[in-house]
Amino acid sequence: MEIKREALPQDMDFRSRQLMSRDMLRGDLEDAELERFVEQAVMTTTLDRAVAWAQGNSIYPMTFGLACCAIEMMSIVAARLDIARFGFEAFRASPRQADLLILSGRVSTKMAPVIRRIYDQMLEPKFAISMGACCSSTGVFNNYALVASDKFMPIDVHVPGCPPRPEALAHGILKLRDKIQHNDREGWRERYDAVGTEEVVPVASGLGDGPQAADGHEGLLIARSTGDAAGA
C-alpha cells in the first residue's frame, strides 16, 4: 500500500520531536507548525486502502483440518514457522467468527456439503485457501470418493504440495494477504461478477416425524452461489 510520508528534516532529533508532540497534545502548536507535525507524524492514505491493510493483517483462519495437510497446518501455528508473526494465530472454530477457510486435506463426497454449508455460514468478506493437492485437484486419488474443492465452493488461493511445507502454506497465506491488501479483484468474484455466496437454510429435514422437504432434497445438499442473481 502506498504510504505518504515526509522524510524527517535533518535538524530534528528525537528529543525535539518529543517536545513537539507534547506541544501538539497541549494544543500549543499552531498553523504551519501544526501542519508540519501532522505531515511528519501521520500517514495519509485512502480509507479503502487502510481498511484493506487492516483486514489483511488480521485474518481469523478457521480450524478446518481434514487429513494430512491439517498436521502441516498445525505446524504453521507451532513455533518454528510461527504464523502469529503475521497476526493469524487466532484460529476460530465457529464459521461466524472466522474469515479464512483453509481447506486442508482431502474432500470426500460425504464431506463436501458440510464444507459448503460452513463456507456459506461465514460472513463476508471471506476467503478460502485450498491447501494441498487433494482439495485443489483430488491429488493422488482421482476416484469415486473425492471431489475437488473448486466444484462446490469458490477458492481464492490454491497451495500445491502433498502436503505443502509450512513455508509453502505461509507463502500461500501471504499471497492472499497481498491480494486483500491491494484490493485485487482478480479471482472468482471478478469472473462470476459475484458478491458472495448465499447461506441456504435447510428446508425441512427434521428428526423423526418432521415435515419433509418439498422437493425431496435435504437442505444441505442444495448449494448455489448467487453470482448473477445478486449482481443482476
Binding site: 460425504k110 476416484n143 469415486y144 466444484k151
Partner: protein
C-alpha cells in the same frame, strides 16, 4: 503361525466335528488358511475359539472376480497365548451374498462388517445395524467390487471451467 502339519491337525479336528464345514486348507508362504462353508461360519469360529483363537484381528472382504463364488469374507484369527494366526475364508456368491454375523461373539466386528457390506454388498444376518459406513447413506453400488469403475472426474481449471460448469448454463 501353525505350520503346515499343525494346520492339518486343526482342519482334521474341524472336519471330525462337522465334515461339511471345511472346504479346503491352504498353507502358503507362512499363511495358514482354511476355506469354510459360509453357512457354518459361526460353528467353526466357536470351535476355533475353544482351541484358543479367540481374538479377531481382521474381518474384510475380497472380490474374486471372475472366479465364482465371487465374494469372500476373510476372518483373521489370533491366538494371543500361543501367538498363532489362522485365516478363515468364507466365499459367498454375488446373487445371494448372505453370511451370519459374528457380532454376537465379538462386538468389535460391528464396524468391519458394516464396511464389508458397504464396499462389497455382503449382507451379514444378525447384525444390529447394517448400513453404510464409509460412503454416503444414499450411495448406490458397492465400490470395492472389481467391476465398479474407479470413477474420478476431470479437474477444473480456469480454462475449462466454463465448459464443465459454465456461467452460461
Amino acid at each position: 503361525m501353525p505350520d503346515a502339519a499343525g494346520l492339518e491337525v486343526i482342519a482334521d479336528e474341524l472336519r471330525a466335528a462337522d465334515p461339511t464345514s471345511v472346504l479346503g486348507t491352504t498353507f502358503d508362504r507362512g499363511r495358514a488358511e482354511i476355506q469354510i462353508d459360509p453357512s457354518k461360519n459361526i460353528e467353526v469360529i466357536e470351535r476355533l475359539r475353544k482351541r484358543g483363537f479367540n481374538f479377531l484381528a481382521s474381518l474384510h472382504g475380497v472380490d474374486y472376480y471372475p472366479q465364482e463364488p465371487r465374494l469372500g469374507v476373510v476372518y483373521e484369527l489370533l491366538d494371543m497365548t500361543e501367538v498363532d494366526r489362522i485365516s478363515l475364508k468364507a466365499r459367498v456368491s454375488i446373487d445371494d451374498p448372505k453370511i451370519a454375523s459374528v457380532t454376537s461373539i465379538w462386538p468389535g466386528s460391528d464396524f468391519p462388517e458394516r464396511e464389508c457390506f458397504d464396499m462389497f454388498g455382503v449382507v451379514f444376518e444378525g447384525h444390529p445395524d447394517l448400513r453404510r459406513i464409509l460412503m454416503p447413506e444414499d450411495f448406490e453400488g458397492f465400490p470395492q467390487r472389481r467391476d465398479f469403475p474407479v470413477g474420478g472426474e476431470p479437474i477444473l481449471f480456469t480454462y475449462n471451467e466454463t465448459e464443465q460448469y459454465g456461467k452460461d448454463r
